[in-house]
């Protein structure tokens, strides 16, 4: 008995290490190291061309100095609005589209699926530029289209007005990414076995009530995943705002989100010189916000979600 135990013990499984090493090395060098280095950089500042350790002073400036904190809270508030629009518009529309697409008698389903998904693979630069042209008061087709149906009074230079610009950009982003929740929900709707739906049908649950009572509870985990992906994506967003409104996120910072605030601070803009240390402080704050959000989801929501064995 004792002999067999000692016999098995010293065996090192080299193949595991060999197969894991490349991935661990690459991931550490391009993800983990830069992440921790950014967190470290946030604790430094520059005086007379010298890097000096200043502890939490950058964060004190970021949250304590009215000039910085006003910008930070503005960007954070805008970011929440950006996220709110996505949750309110993108995900419900994604679910509805998926539900329609999964209908067995829908014709040209594959065509619709591709058409709706295509914007997702477009570059932000193309999307930003195309929508800027569509909505342009001078060359755009939006004013003339509204004019054609007698609704010209509804038109406004949306991207140039403080009160509409952020919502407009959020909706452009929704247009671009609605394909992602649609595809994920569509996949999980297809995964629901027909037997369950047939059994429900025998019990008299069909049509809409089948969706609400059978399908929705079964796709709830997918909706959770989509929400968290949307959250992370939105709080890391930068590209669309930058291509459409520039680094100053105009008009009057009304479309400034954390990503553009970080860019402006880190790399500088026009006569404003870049400050990598304050930039890192903002990046660290963004990291903390996303981490808190993901933790709330993981521990607060996902563990309580009921899962059904299909």
């Amino acid at each position: 008995m004792r002999l067999t135990v000692t016999h098995h013990k010293p065996k090192i499984r080299w193949h595991i290490i060999v197969f894991l090493t490349p991935a661990v090395l690459v991931y550490t060098s391009v993800m983990i190291f830069p992440l921790f280095n950014t967190l470290r950089l946030a604790l430094y500042s520059q005086f007379e061309q010298q890097r000096v350790f200043v502890g939490l002073q950058n964060f004190q400036t970021l949250f304590g100095d009215p000039i910085w904190s006003e910008q930070f809270w503005n960007a954070l508030g805008n970011n929440f609005w950006f996220f709110f629009i996505h949750m309110l518009v993108q995900n419900p529309i994604g679910i509805i589209l998926a539900a329609i697409l999964s209908h067995p008698r829908l014709r040209f389903a594959a065509l619709y699926r591709s058409a709706i998904f295509i914007p997702t693979i477009l570059s932000f630069v193309i999307v930003g530029f195309a929508w800027k042209l569509i909505l342009s008061p001078i060359w755009g087709i939006a004013p003339s289209m509204l004019d054609a149906i007698g609704l010209k009074f509804l038109y406004a230079p949306w991207l140039g007005k403080e009160e509409y610009a952020l919502t407009t950009l959020s909706l452009i982003s929704v247009w671009q990414f609605v394909g992602i929740p649609m595809m994920l929900i569509y996949a999980s709707l297809l995964a629901i076995p027909d037997e369950i739906l047939e059994a429900a049908e025998i019990d008299g649950i069909t049509g809409m009530s089948a969706f609400w009572k059978i399908k929705l509870p079964l796709i709830l985990p997918s909706i959770g995943i989509i929400s968290i992906l949307t959250f992370v994506g939105n709080f890391n967003a930068f590209d669309l705002i930058y291509t459409a409104q520039g680094a100053l996120a105009g008009p009057d910072f009304s479309t400034d989100i954390l990503g553009t605030f970080l860019y402006r601070t880190f790399f500088g803009f026009q006569l404003q010189l870049g400050d990598p240390y304050m930039g890192s402080a903002i990046a660290s704050a963004m990291f903390a916000i996303i981490l808190i959000g993901v933790c709330i989801y993981l521990f607060g929501i996902q563990t309580r979600m009921r899962r059904y064995q299909l």
């Binding site: 061309q49 000039i67 991207l159 403080e162 680094a247 009057d252 026009q270 006569l271 404003q272 010189l273």
Partner: protein, 417 residues
Amino acid sequence: MIRKTLALALAGTALTSTVALAQDAELTIESWRNDDLTLWQEKIIPAFEAKHPGIKVTFAPTAPAEYNAVLNSKLDAGSAGDLITCRPFDASLALYDAGHLSNLGDMDAMSNFSDVAKSAWQTDDASATFCVPMASVIHGFIYNKDAFAELGLEVPKTEAEFFAALDKIKEDGSYIPMAMGTNDQWEAATMGYNNIGPNYWKGEEGRLALIKGEQKLTDPQWTAPYATLAKWGSYLGDGYEAQTYPDSQNIFTLGRAAIYPAGSWEIAGFNTQADFELGAFPPPVQNDGDTCYISDHTDIGIGMNAKSDNPEAARTFLTWVASPEFAAIMGNALPGFFPLSKEPVNLEDPLAKEFVSWRDKCESTIRSTYHILSRGTPNLENETWGASVAAIKGTSSPDELGAELQKGLASWYAPHQ
């Protein structure tokens, strides 16, 4: 005999090696002037290469709004070009302080420039000059001469005449009175505030007093331009809030607008784009006979990357840039960029001539926010963009804007504390 061949062979290798060395020198110019790409490629660089065979020059511009950020990253990473086109004042001073630009003060050719021209690229004590001054740009208004003739308008001299002309164009309705948008923000500050402002703060007098802390941004001469800008809003086209800088350029060159608040750098582009006659007038003064002030801004210099692999070739290029030959080529190849060399350059372009003629009639100054005042955070120049837009849109009153800017400046600039 043997000795002779050996000597010949040696001379031969020496010759080939120098030729190889000379051919090796390739210079890359970093610039934000992507509009001038063809002019550099077709006129300026060939003229240099014809005189200096063996040095190959490449002009590699970046988009203007990204230039500073991209350049800083490239310099930090050590991948920037040999020659750096210099923004005036603090942006370049910071590059020099960080050791990215070489001191060019010892170059003989520097004596071709006046002290004012060099001041944009010197340390505060003028002990080091790190860029060769290339050109300045002058602000004013470009107008559609055909439209003015059609509507029977005179070129406005005073502000009252200016707004009367705008009213008349608006009333007629066939032209947008003024082509400018607020989407990109900088036009409002550069072609708006800093264009008309010098007439209010009396050019250098006000600018220097502001730097010394003797005047404040809340003083009437600094807030009044915002009140004037507030009147502009109703003369800009429909949806000007979302109109971008290229939109404005296109609207004007397509002949849809009558007046364009301009910088002289537009001349080359407008000459090729517009098929109507162009005229220009300086910013109108308040009362007829007042001294006029123009923004004649030292805008472009060129310096050397301290880590350049070809410092000799780079210096050769810079010496050539400082020569009257370059000034003549550039002044005429890029009408609207006025050479800063002491020796006057004969310009051919009528519109450029009109702009440069204001130097004799009016007092020159530079943009108020560029020298020293944009060193801190918040950055006065960038803040002025937002303030000018807010003034045009009418979202804030001139006094509120002055107070806001003053608060920002006083937060880091000692003479205002």
